[in-house]
């Protein structure tokens, strides 16, 4: 049984890693670098919130 669980752990690790890498690639090719790195320290996201709350 534990041999099967070992194989399962390898497979799940690969699945999670591939999903992250795929999403990373898709995000980086969909959005501009300017948008992705637009975060500034301490700022609340301008798209959803205003300065005054």
């Amino acid at each position: 049984m534990w041999t099967l669980i070992e194989y399962g752990a390898w497979a799940l690790s690969a699945l999670f890693a591939l999903h992250m890498i795929y999403d990373w690639y898709r995000t980086d090719t969909t959005y501009s670098e300017e948008v992705l790195t637009s975060s500034r320290e301490g700022e609340i996201e301008a798209m959803t919130e205003e300065h005054r709350i």
């Binding site: 690790s13 992705l36 637009s38 500034r40 320290e41 700022e43 609340i44 996201e45 301008a46 205003e50």
Partner: protein, 479 residues
């Protein structure tokens, strides 16, 4: 008093300068508690008992309480400063605003290394725990721990990648379970009853009381840190909590109170069940002392509860470490202290996704290729350097921005006593660490000196100096 008021209900005090995608403000005080306690609680389940090996049971208790004072000072100082510097990066961001860029760079690295090494140590431990479970369930051949080490790191990184709310809600559930497991074991051992299986009088008398004298107490200080190491990680959530001025002090101070209770109960239970020679040997003896104590009760239910408690505490710690290391790395990238590429935020999940992914292979290399004691020692030493920065930080903060210039979300009492106590205890702990790990201490300080030179003579030219100070504070007093 400046216009900036972090406790104001009508304005956040932070101007917008073009952020299109930022970290999501979705967390509450319970998540802050789960982040801080989650990182630390594994230290109750394993590791602290090396202090018993260094000086016996009483030495471990003295170390536990002295380290408790050290970390209470850390929590109070952190709560005040971070309730005002409400940005990701925690102590790195505090250092940048209050001390200067070189200190900030060093503090940022302390944080990243402390948390990434601790994450690697947790993954190694998790692989070991799974192999113990395999042995207990009758596995006929030795288990390959590598797939479980890799799965723990990759799964938790994936969870962190997908969003901070789910990540820390997961941490809240498993951390609460692990803490309750300690309470259940304490109640089940019925210390108030005459029939209690606890045998403190027999196990702690004579030679067992203080086997190495007061030098043993000093040596135990190194491992006393295990009871609380990582509570300062709550500050990394500063940019993702809905109400930083309230949530951060509340979560952090509730966290240190939880840990003081958990640490004392853990010590009390374990030294009452296990002889100090066995308890103090964390390699060939009590690897997971609370689990060993549960086995001593003879109750299968307690063995299962504490077994899951150990597993969950390890997972929660690794999970919180990924969260904190990635925020510190992200903040340094955003300020150009590192390539700005790391300062990206995922537009859907609102997480620092590149920093999370970048630190995965580093954690894997250490988890698969380095011995556990070296990995953990590097983590502790990096943490200790960070604690030494804090008293300097709070003294400068109060001097440059006295209480009547910036309104804080929390003001810690008795200043500067906590700062001075923290500095004294850090000095004591350096000496204790030097006794056992002098070579590693010197090697690590040398490493930080080399990277500081690199930052000063090369990297700092890329930093946009005016952009890095974002807090709308008045000019510091005396400038």
């Amino acid at each position: 008093m400046a216009d900036f008021d972090i406790t104001s209900k009508s304005m956040d005090g932070i101007a917008s300068h073009g952020t299109k995608v930022g970290l999501a403000r979705v967390l509450g005080p319970a998540h802050v508690w789960a982040l801080g306690v989650g990182i630390v609680l594994v230290g109750e389940y394993m590791g602290w008992n090396f202090a018993v090996g260094k000086g016996g049971a009483y030495a471990a208790l003295i170390a536990c309480w002295f380290a408790g004072i050290l970390y209470s000072c850390v929590a109070m100082i952190d709560s005040e400063v971070t309730s005002t510097v409400a940005a990701a990066g925690g102590q790195y961001t505090q250092a940048k605003h209050i001390v200067g860029p070189l200190m900030a760079f060093n503090v940022g690295l302390y944080l990243v290394f402390a948390y990434t090494m601790l994450e690697a140590g947790n993954a190694i431990t998790l692989g070991y725990l799974i192999s113990v479970a395999a042995d207990m369930t009758g596995a006929t051949q030795a288990l390959d721990q590598r797939p479980f080490i890799i799965l723990s790191i990759v799964f938790l990184a994936w969870l962190n990648y997908r969003g901070v709310l789910a990540t820390l809600t997961f941490n809240l559930v498993i951390t609460a379970f692990a803490f309750c497991a300690i309470l259940v074991l304490f109640v089940a051992s019925a210390p108030w009853s005459a029939d209690s299986p606890l045998a403190h009088a027999e196990l702690m008398s004579g030679q067992a009381a203080l086997p190495y004298g007061w030098l043993g107490v000093l040596a135990a200080m190194h491992f006393g840190l295990w009871f609380y190491l990582g509570i300062e990680g709550t500050t990394q959530a500063a940019e993702e909590v809905r109400s930083p001025a309230r949530s951060l002090p509340f979560g952090t101070l509730a966290g240190i109170m939880t840990l003081l209770i958990a640490a004392t109960l853990t010590w009390y239970i374990c030294v009452g069940f296990l002889p100090w020679e066995y308890l103090g040997d964390g390699v060939n003896g009590a690897v997971a002392p609370l689990f060993s104590a549960a086995q001593m009760t003879g109750s299968n239910a307690l063995v299962i509860i504490l077994g899951f408690g150990t597993l969950f505490a390890t997972l929660a710690s690794a999970n919180g470490c990924i969260n904190d290391a990635s925020r510190a790395w992200f903040s340094m990238g955003r300020d150009h202290y590192l390539p700005q590429w790391f300062g990206a935020v995922h537009p859907t999940y609102r997480t620092p996704y590149r920093s999370i992914i970048f630190l995965v292979p580093i954690a894997l290399i250490f988890a698969l290729g380095a011995p556990l004691d070296q990995v953990i020692t590097f983590s502790i030493l990096s943490g200790l350097l960070g604690y030494t920065f804090m008293p300097i930080n709070i003294i400068l903060f109060r001097r440059k921005w006295p209480l009547d210039t910036i309104k804080r979300g929390y003001v810690h009492p008795f200043h500067p006593i906590p700062a001075l106590v923290l500095l004294a205890l850090c000095s004591l702990t350096y000496f204790a660490v030097f006794l056992g790990y002098g070579t590693q201490l010197i090697a690590m300080v040398s490493f930080y000196i080399v990277v500081s030179l690199w930052f000063h003579f090369w990297r700092y030219r890329f930093v946009k100096r005016a952009d890095q100070f974002t807090m709308p504070w008045p000019k510091p007093r005396g400038y």
